[in-house]
């Protein structure tokens, strides 16, 4: 990289410079303290904050090629309630705006091609007139394919047509600095603490087109000089080592975590229990340290659970038939792996879904003494429109810019799933303050949950001596922390006086807005996973509050009928607790049904007297939005 000799005006560049020097002698620097005012709202019992940590903007090659012009600065402004213009299907624009701002967000553009895209946009760059750049600017689908395939290569190389004429390392560094500046501009460092941004990017490796993507989220403005992408680190072990070396160990004030997403597209490759050469227990702890969370839901569907595998880990669960990207008859990977998941090909594995991954983690823990898959749950959008938090079924702007600029396009699209795509979800965290440190630490300790869009408040505690009437105790939250652990935690050792662990889950429905009220809740379930004495994994679903209530939705008007509950609370003791078995427990909170976005788009087409695409007959009409808490482990 070309260090800027003097450049104090660009504080971020100066910091990057200072930090790369400090890498040589970190001991001389005093511990990093974030420069900011303390938040006026600082709640030791923690507030819930909603965010989106998976956002692509015009800096991502696959967004830009679909005429998305929303850059990271505009994306953060959108998260705070400003409108953006998105391309429509006719060469014009449409505006989009959130009903409610988010509390936090991270722009996670593909680290790969960050510099190349920048060079292609710059008329002064010698790469500007290359065919590849022209194709990118003109939205040539074959260029998208070409760039995409580059990320599936075993030994990836940067596109020669661009990097032999343009200075790709400098372009990358500049784009990375702008990414940091956008995060800085959006971050409210005053006592109002109205919005938190994170410096972040996506590592987009996808060996043999099995998805292995990770979002890399930094705790502070201290970040490595360039993002470690698929080009620098072609496999995820290399990514974690690079983050450990260049950030956690090598850079004072730098801390980082990586969030894997779309395990549902990985053909078993993302969580296959295989290790490179080395001490497996050490490697497993490196993994666990860098990856405390799993993105369980986003535009490309649900990764919680699936029916249809030979070993479904328990009785079929009809609520698992939810927002599935793959609807073909797939083959079961068994204990093996496949390829081409990203084009909906190859086999599907039990470790493509949270339940299988979490139980596999217990098995690895028994084998190695370390659980490499100790994953809390979260959700986000993966928007490629630069629209963090645009998760409403009634106002879905599509996934991919101009390619999904109208109802008809969204219903007939194929990228990545067309009518199977979802508007994506949100991450909720329980944190003392709305700032980077507080939210990052909540993610580290996994006090997070994901939702498929709604902003329900969900609290869970587990412990050995929670009172059984805890739901009707005003000090529920105080008791939860005093006598138990919150979501994401480990139960303490079993005291002699206790026979089984108890859990309390309370959910408040999404309040919505006056214009768009939230939906009532249907039920709360507890999902338990465990591994028996012979090493066999099991999963069981328990109903702990509410239940089927007969509520429905009229799909021709999208009006809901019948009531659910504005809030639910359940206390549950594990009826089949066996002290010899390791287990995890997470809660699923399910809303009453509403119209899916496809139904809204089909109704709109029908009202306009237009022809209805086939998806209007085949797509699922309704959706039961939900939340998934991080597990508590025992």
């Amino acid at each position: 990289m070309t260090p800027l000799a003097r450049c104090s005006r660009l504080s971020l560049t100066a910091l990057a410079l200072a930090s790369s020097l400090s890498a040589c002698k970190p001991a001389e620097e005093p511990p990093f303290v974030e420069e900011r005012e303390p938040c006026s709202d600082n709640n030791p019992l923690r507030n819930v904050y909603f965010g989106d940590l998976h956002v692509h903007t015009s800096y991502s090659f696959d967004a830009y090629i679909n005429r998305v012009d929303v850059d990271p600065f505009a994306a953060y402004e959108f998260a705070q309630g400003q409108a953006v213009e998105l391309p429509d299907d006719a060469g014009g624009v449409r505006t989009h705006q959130l009903e409610r701002p988010l509390d936090f967000a991270a722009v996670t553009d593909h680290g790969e091609y960050l510099g190349e895209v920048s060079a292609c946009k710059d008329p002064d760059s010698p790469a500007y007139s290359s065919d590849l750049c022209i194709g990118l600017r003109e939205g040539d689908p074959s260029v998208l394919v070409q760039w995409g395939l580059g990320l599936g290569a075993q030994t990836p190389v940067r596109p020669k047509a661009i990097c032999e004429v343009a200075d790709c390392p400098v372009e990358l560094s500049d784009a990375w600095v702008r990414t940091q500046e956008a995060a800085e501009a959006a971050y409210d460092r005053s006592a109002a603490c109205s919005f938190t941004s994170f410096v972040a990017y996506e590592w987009s490796g996808a060996k043999t087109l099995s998805n292995l993507h990770r979002n890399v989220i930094f705790r502070s403005e201290r970040v490595p000089a360039i993002p470690a992408t698929h080009f620098e680190e072609p496999d995820y072990w290399g990514l974690w080592r690079a983050l450990d070396r260049d950030c956690i160990e090598g850079l004072n004030g730098c801390d980082v975590l990586a969030i894997p997403h779309n395990s549902n597209w990985s053909n078993g490759n993302m969580f296959v229990a295989e290790y490179p050469e080395g001490d497996q227990a050490e490697l497993a702890s490196l993994r666990a340290r860098l990856e405390p969370l799993l993105e369980v839901y986003q535009h490309k569907g649900d990764s919680e659970c699936t029916n249809g595998l030979a070993n479904p880990l328990g009785a079929p669960d009809e609520l698992c038939d939810f927002e599935k990207l793959r609807t073909d008859d797939f083959e079961d990977c068994g204990d093996g792996t496949g390829m081409q998941g990203m084009i909906n090909g190859g086999c599907v594995s039990r470790v493509d879904f949270a339940r299988g991954i979490l139980t596999e983690g217990l098995r690895e823990q028994a084998r190695l003494g370390v659980n490499p898959y100790k994953l809390g749950l979260m959700a986000s959008t993966d928007t490629h429109n630069g629209t963090p938090g645009a998760v409403e079924e009634y106002n879905y702007p599509g996934h991919f810019g101009a390619a999904e600029g109208s109802s008809a396009q969204r219903l007939t699209g194929t990228l990545p799933g067309g009518p199977q795509d979802s508007p994506g979800g949100l991450i909720a965290v329980w944190a003392e303050q709305n700032n980077r440190e507080s939210i990052f630490d909540a993610m580290r300790r996994r006090e997070t949950y994901g939702t498929s869009g709604p902003r329900m408040a969900v609290r869970m505690f587990g412990g050995w001596d929670l009172p059984s009437d805890i739901c009707s105790r005003a000090d529920l939250v105080e008791l939860g922390y005093e006598r138990g652990v919150p979501m994401g935690g480990d139960l303490p050792a079993q005291p002699a006086s206790a026979s089984a662990p108890g859990f309390v889950v309370q959910a408040l429905k999404d309040p919505g807005t006056a214009a768009a009220p939230g939906t009532d809740l249907e039920r709360i379930q507890m999902i338990k996973g465990w591994v028996d004495a012979s090493g066999e994994p099991h999963v069981e679903v328990f109903e702990i509050a509410g239940g089927p209530n007969g509520a429905s939705v009229d799909i021709s008007t999208c009006e809901t009928q019948g009531a659910g509950s504005p809030q639910l609370c359940g206390y549950w003791v594990d009826p089949s607790y066996d002290p010899a078995e390791r287990a995890w427990y997470y809660a699923r909170v399910v809303e009453n049904p509403v119209c899916r976005w496809t139904t809204r788009d089909c109704n709109a087409l029908e009202a306009a007297g237009e022809e209805l695409p086939g998806a209007c007959d085949t797509a699922i009409d309704v959706i039961q939005e939900r939340a998934w808490t991080s597990p508590i482990w025992n």
Binding site: L4, S40, L508, K509, S565
Partner: protein, 274 residues
Amino acid sequence: MSARPWYREPLLHFAVAGAALFGLYEQVRPAPAGETIVVSADTLARIQSQQARRLGREPTAEEREAAIREWADAEMLYREARALGLDRGDPIVRRRLIQKLAFLFEEVDDPPEPSDEQLEQWIGEHADRFEQAPRFGIVHVFVPSSSRVVPEAKLMELEQALANGADPATLGEGFALGQVLQPKTVVELNRSFGPAFGDSVAALPEVGWHRVRSLYGWHLVHVEERLPGRLASVDEVRGQARQGLLNDAREQARERAMQELRDRYALEIEGAGE
């Protein structure tokens, strides 16, 4: 690799861009034959640390040697290119140089650290950015009720207990967001409890416990703290105000320098005025 003209080598572009940053005000002269390239201690340290970062370990003696040679080759190319004037008319070099000089202009007179008085004044001048809405800190006793039914008996019982001085922590049911809420704005309260809840809280009298309906049921609310709307204090927005003020000062410094430049140059537009 086939006949690419040597002046299109990316390495050359890289060195030129790098050189533009380092050698801004250094000598410009044609390189005489047999000129010496000195690898200074600083350069050596930089080469080594970059290599160590790339490799994830200290380089071996051979690797170090190779890196130094690579650097020296680039330096030679750079000097020759400069001597040939290849940096002239290159848009990348032009942009880097402009950027660099703009930074220098801003640093010419580094603005002094602003005083609290200056910060306060600056906040006042940017009141739209620093106005804070009123905030309300509340304690509430929660009674769930799913319909429009008012659980009258229960509410009266709780009101009686509160009037008799009972500890609110022992009254009502659990609420996920907690029983004591730090000061929040009307908008924030509406966002957590449902539309109109915050407006109702804002209208409550100073003392006593009052019934407020939310989406989730009934709450007996006591307003613990009432923070009026006001301009933020220096301590609440110090960083933002300081940054804003310094940015203004730098912007002014750059504009002054630019103005001096404009005074020194004459502008002639060919064909203009004909």
